[in-house]
């Protein structure tokens, strides 16, 4: 089977692409819960929170156009895979933020993730992560933070103690990695033949394959976060967002898995959901126009998602720059008008009742103060 056929097959919806996302926890004495979900690979914000009313959208996106978005307001609609988030939005427990970006303006995943997680203004400027520094701002923790991952992601590395845990079995490789390996083997006669055969077998077995699905991760995280003396801060890693080709099916699967993860988290947290803020963000966005291979390339601004009972939701927060040629960043990307660092700082500060300015200074080096961002999270009762 050729790689393209594999993509088609994957696009039919067999299994999630979010295989074995990793969870990281911190223990803090507060009733509020804060969950940071990172989307590694630069998620396409334009097809997640769809600017369906922007006259340039359809022309830019062509076959990647989302024809049937779930309308949120007169400007934006939700990708149809996000049915759980749609309900949360209706219950005013989900907030979507658009045209948002970290201070990073280049297009390297490694460097972009480093800026997003470290909170530095440029790559490798800082060695520790903003989530760890946030833990340091909170009342003394009862126990060590825990990473349910082979190593602790950069965002949670630093002075505050964090341990890690990972199950010992070999995790199944995510589709994104499998696809990239396929590409690597394309020009190699021997490996290409073997790989094609392996993918054929995998596709046949995919329906019944025991894949660790995203909902399972959400349930696991909820199990820890819902305990009275459990961790208050968690990080979950997701991957597979780098959709250079075959984006339509892949992104639908990615979003379906993300939606399931958040839904499982909500269900598992029960009453604790009321005190929870979930923030989903990616290192940068994707090009406004579709490329020649049914995908999009590395861009700049993207969308961030917030969910949780603590979130002041039911709206889309955006200083919409538009998609006309002149409005695009460098003529190709959605232009950033909101600062992701500021969004994270304000969200964290409001979740835990911290001073937003001080939180901003502690967590981020490059963030600008951004008046457009406030009232993201409800004040804590009592």
């Amino acid at each position: 089977m050729k790689r393209r056929q594999f993509l088609t097959f994957a696009g039919v919806g067999l299994g999630s692409m979010l295989i074995a996302p990793r969870i990281v926890f911190a223990n803090v004495e507060t009733d509020r819960r804060f969950v940071f979900i990172i989307q590694r690979g630069a998620a396409d914000g334009l097809n997640t929170i769809v600017p369906y009313a922007d006259s340039a959208y359809r022309a830019l996106r062509g076959s990647l156009t989302i024809d049937n978005p779930i309308k949120l307001d007169g400007t934006f609609g939700l990708h149809p895979s996000l049915t759980g988030l749609r309900k949360l939005h209706r219950d005013k427990q989900a907030l979507f933020v658009h045209a948002v970006a970290s201070p990073y303006r280049e297009r390297s995943h490694f460097d972009g993730q480093n800026v997003l997680e470290s909170g530095g203004a440029s790559p490798y400027e800082r060695k520790d992560g903003w989530l760890n520094r946030l833990v340091g701002m909170l009342p003394k923790s009862r126990g060590e933070a825990i990473a349910f991952a082979p190593t602790i992601p950069l965002a949670l590395r630093g002075r505050a103690d964090v341990t890690s845990y990972a199950p010992s079995a070999l995790p199944e490789a995510p589709d994104d990695l499998m696809m990239r390996v396929g590409k690597l083997y394309d020009a190699d006669e021997q490996l290409h033949a073997l790989w094609s055969s392996a993918m054929e077998t995998r596709a046949l077995g995919a329906v019944s394959a025991q894949r660790k699905d995203a909902a399972n991760v959400g349930r696991t995280a909820a199990g820890f976060l819902s305990k009275a003396d459990g961790p208050r801060v968690a990080m979950i890693e997701t991957s597979g967002w780098d959709t250079h080709s075959g984006q339509q099916g892949r992104l639908a699967n990615q979003l379906r898995a993300l939606d399931a993860l958040i839904d499982a988290l909500r269900a598992g947290l029960g009453d604790v959901w009321r005190d929870t803020t979930v923030l989903v963000a990616t290192e940068f966005g994707r090009t406004a126009a579709a490329n020649g291979t049914g995908g999009t390339d590395h861009g700049t601004a993207s969308a961030a998602l917030l969910a949780g009972g603590a979130v002041n939701g039911g709206r889309v927060l955006a200083d919409w720059p538009g998609l006309s040629t002149g409005a695009l960043h460098q003529g190709r990307d959605l232009a950033p008008t909101l600062d992701l660092d500021a969004l994270i700082a304000v969200t964290a500060a409001e979740t835990f009742g911290l001073d937003p300015q001080e939180t901003m200074r502690t967590l981020f080096a490059g963030g600008r103060s951004n008046v457009a961002i406030s009232d993201i999270v409800h004040k804590q009762a009592g």
Binding site: G41, T151, L170, L177, L184, S239
Partner: protein, 456 residues
Amino acid sequence: MARPSEVAVALNRFGLGARPEDEAPADPKSWLLAQFESYDANPAVFSGAPDSATLGDGYAETMLEAKGADADAKMAARKTARQEAQALYRDEVDMRARAALATSTPFVERLVHFWSNHFAISAEKPQLTLIAGAFEREAIRPHVLGRFEDMLLAAVRHPAMLLYLDQVRSIGPNSRFANRAAKRGGKRKPGINENLAREIMELHTLGVRSGYSQADVTEFALALTGFSTGRARERDQAGAFTFRPGLHEPGERTIMGKTYDQSGKRQALAVLGDLAAAEATATHIAAKLARHFIADEPPAAVVTRLAEAFRRSKGDLVAVYHALIDSPEAWQPAAAKFKTPWEWTISALRGLGRSDIGKPRLAPLLNQLGQPVWRPRSPAGYDDVAGSWAAPDALVRRVEAAQRLAAQSDDVDPRDLARKLFAGSLNELTVAEVDRAESRRTGIALLLVSPDFQRR
């Protein structure tokens, strides 16, 4: 300055894979040759590892204790012994891997793995689970830079080999023991077991279809009778080579046209000496080494050259390695050898700068990758051709393992690593894809399963 491709060949084809912290050798050939001087046959990693004698004593003690016990106690003792053997086996595998990660003489360490597989035993046989590691330490490591005959003798007389190939059951039909048994009117007449004799000729020395006959095998097996190990009740001898004159078939033997009239163990030793020095053995060993280092179908010229070095030096292995290093065919930049799971795993761990195994432990990981350590299915050892290892499912498992290893090492920048491990001679497509990966983990995993890294 050496060409990048030669540095990469020295590190990856002759060595066990580059480590990020190592300096690239300025002169690849000298770097390989210098390893003969600094090789340590007993590196610190193995301090505290039990030798065969200790293991034999321990085993003997367990068996003696269980002797008078009832059936349940016996079963429990056996179960405990089995579990302890499994635990030791896993420790031994990790030790072997740690030695391969830490070594500063990776070419010689690779040769240890090569010879260990040449004189294959299998830990699958319950008695061998305990001493598989000791076999490699005692029979292979000390002789890897010595004479072939010495390694052959050490391997053949090691309890692991004697047990594995059933030599301990072999009894000369006219031996003192057999004659006594006949007088007592035993039902079964004791006889020889040809397993060890056949495998020595077919696998360890001459090579299959090299001119010996079934009669030669039988005669050799008769000459070998008496080669045995200490038994459980012989406390101080358990786990050591013993010659039992009472089991030895008396008389002279004729093997491949030559008559051996020595008595006792000297007879088989004389045969082994001749087998080690035989023309066919030189060619057989030369072909295996060339296959291991150059290509699944090695060029005939190299095999001839290595065999010549073997003959001229009377089986001095360092002379043969010299001839190998001097062969231009071994320095072709295009990697022709598909790594075995062991080679791939060790090179991946070395590439990531790991000094320890962590999780998952090596034994179960190698099991999943299809090449459990010291557990080949036959005395021929593991195959050394791509056909045995390059399979669809095997590739997927390597990708999964690579993902796990990468996740444990995501401090590493895959872009730097890609340059370092291949001394700048990496395929451009691999460089581009590693560069393009959506995260460091993915980048590292891609590097580890790239066509470049799958081969050496």
